[in-house]
Amino acid sequence: MEIPRERLLWLYERMVLIRAFEDRVAQLFAAGKLPGFVHLYAGEEAIAVGVCAHLTDRDFITSTHRGHGHCIAKGVDVRAMMTELYGKATGVCKGKGGSMHIADVDKGMLGANGIVGGGPPIACGAGLTAKTLGTDQVAVYFFGDGAAEQGTTHEAMNLAAIWKLPVVFVCENNLYAESTPWTYHCAAPDIASRAAAYDMPGVLVDGTDVFAVYEAAGEAIARARRGEGPTLLECRAFRYYGHFQGDAVTYRTPEEEASYRQRDPIQRFRQAVLSQGLLGEDELDAVDAAVKDRIEEAVRFAETSPYPPPEECLTDVYVSYPVEQLAFRH
């Protein structure tokens, strides 16, 4: 598989950007800088990046509570994201969504989702729009192994299949639904094989290998664009942090966690491109440095941005509605 040099650099830059963002968010959260709670994507970067490499701003994705990586892979501005996590007025959702509902429809990012299994019908709807209007747009539904057990996921796979919608179902199997092992919650030997029930291709992919994801997603997305219907990809990877930041992660042993790093997607990428002479070490290091600066700049911007005025609570509920009926009565 030939990947143009520029795209190789993009894959690396996006993965590193996600990792740096998440590691920094972990620190900021621990320092009490961020309200609410956060679910971090570190370790799973190859999936979002390998898939979104095939998408443009006109394509759509729906995401999960672990959505920062999908946002970054889809091109959402990290400064506006970081600011959103602070709850500031200049955040990408004006401080109204936060980590769990972060979205940017201008980038085709139809939202992280606080509801496990909330996204698949929405992805079908985005695919239905493309099909109805006769465009070649594609919608991707990212979901965890936990959401693989939600009825909406199954209903949506069936709907996408009977209507031949341009939707790709990307399961990120990170081995645990919160603290529950996927081998417990899933009756099937793998999630990909469930595709057979909906007469669509199901592909099991190493989600720590961005090249493998890139190739499988490329085929699935091309198939969707050709009007041949949906595909289910199951990408196995590891989440480095807990389910949420602050999770004591008692369900995993230190040995298991250490083993994850042996298959780190970023290190695997570096080794692959360096050993094949596709990119130089200095180029990769330069990306690392630029990303670091970018994240620090985003944090500075977020820190110095203002909070929204309290009355901002009352806006954006509707396009039109009598505001006095939204406000307190007294």
Binding site: V105, T132, L159, Q325
Partner: protein, 339 residues
Amino acid sequence: MVVATRVLSYRQAINEALRLEMRRDPTVILMGEDVAGGATVEHVEQEGAWGGPLGVTKSLVSEFGRRRVLDTPISEAAFIGAAVGAAVTGLRPVAELMFVDFFGVCMDQIFNQGAKLRYMFGGKAKVPMVIRTMIGAGFGAAGQHSGCHYSVFAHMPGLKAVAPATPYDAKGLLIAAIRDDDPVLFFEHKMLYDTTGEVPEGDYVVPIGKADVKREGNDVTIVAISRMVHVALEAAARLAADGIDAEVVDLRSLSPLDEETVLRSLAKTRRLVVVDEDNPRCSIAADIAALAVDKGFDSLDAPVKLVTAPHTPVPFSPPLEQYYVPSPERVVAAVRELL
């Protein structure tokens, strides 16, 4: 300009609103269980088999085709959610939730997704979708096919909710709902489908959020919703025979609420009865009573009376169902208590 009118049924008025909007705007699509009916069955593929279980969407598929009149699997979460996704990305879907009682299997897509997306996204998204759904007792359909439940939706920020009582209002409100940029729940009372009334030809809009005084009067205000407007009018006719002059306000829209019209009527009559077929706890009827107490207290010469369904599911047996639904007799009795 003289606009021609003819007598249409409530069912025909809804069908006409859908047809006109689908002609006007190619992004309007219909989706739901059996909205055409008989998908892929050769001899009905072009004209549809059902047009909905009560024929409300009949013959739309023959004009607009299966790509715009979409029969769905019985997967309410998937297709109501698909309507949300389609609305966010550029269509104006009209999804049919066959009976409102089915909201239990798709509520997440309605209230966590459709209702909240715009807000959570900081105003960047809009969700111009309509959910048409059937309400009401009277068919002997019992516990899971007879509720009203619109109060549940009126409670939720991000949703609008309308419940027309006449063919004229049904057509104008549905056109308004389809053109609205927010998600609108459109409640159709199953016992009204065969009722008839004058309906203008061509398109017109009944604005969402505006109540309508269906009968003017000076002695008492009766606020009613959907089928209960007709119950209230019947009660008003009986009261008139005894020299009591009731004003009947058809709420039409539950969210937003036309507070001004209710309060203006109350200021005139100084007495208020609310007639509502929904269950009474935390309901639109209770909300109107709270409005009267909160903003119309000085107008009240008597307690507010609520004539509602009891706090039970809808029963099956005909005498029980009849007991459940507010009757003109109960409305008359409530008014008499105030005078």
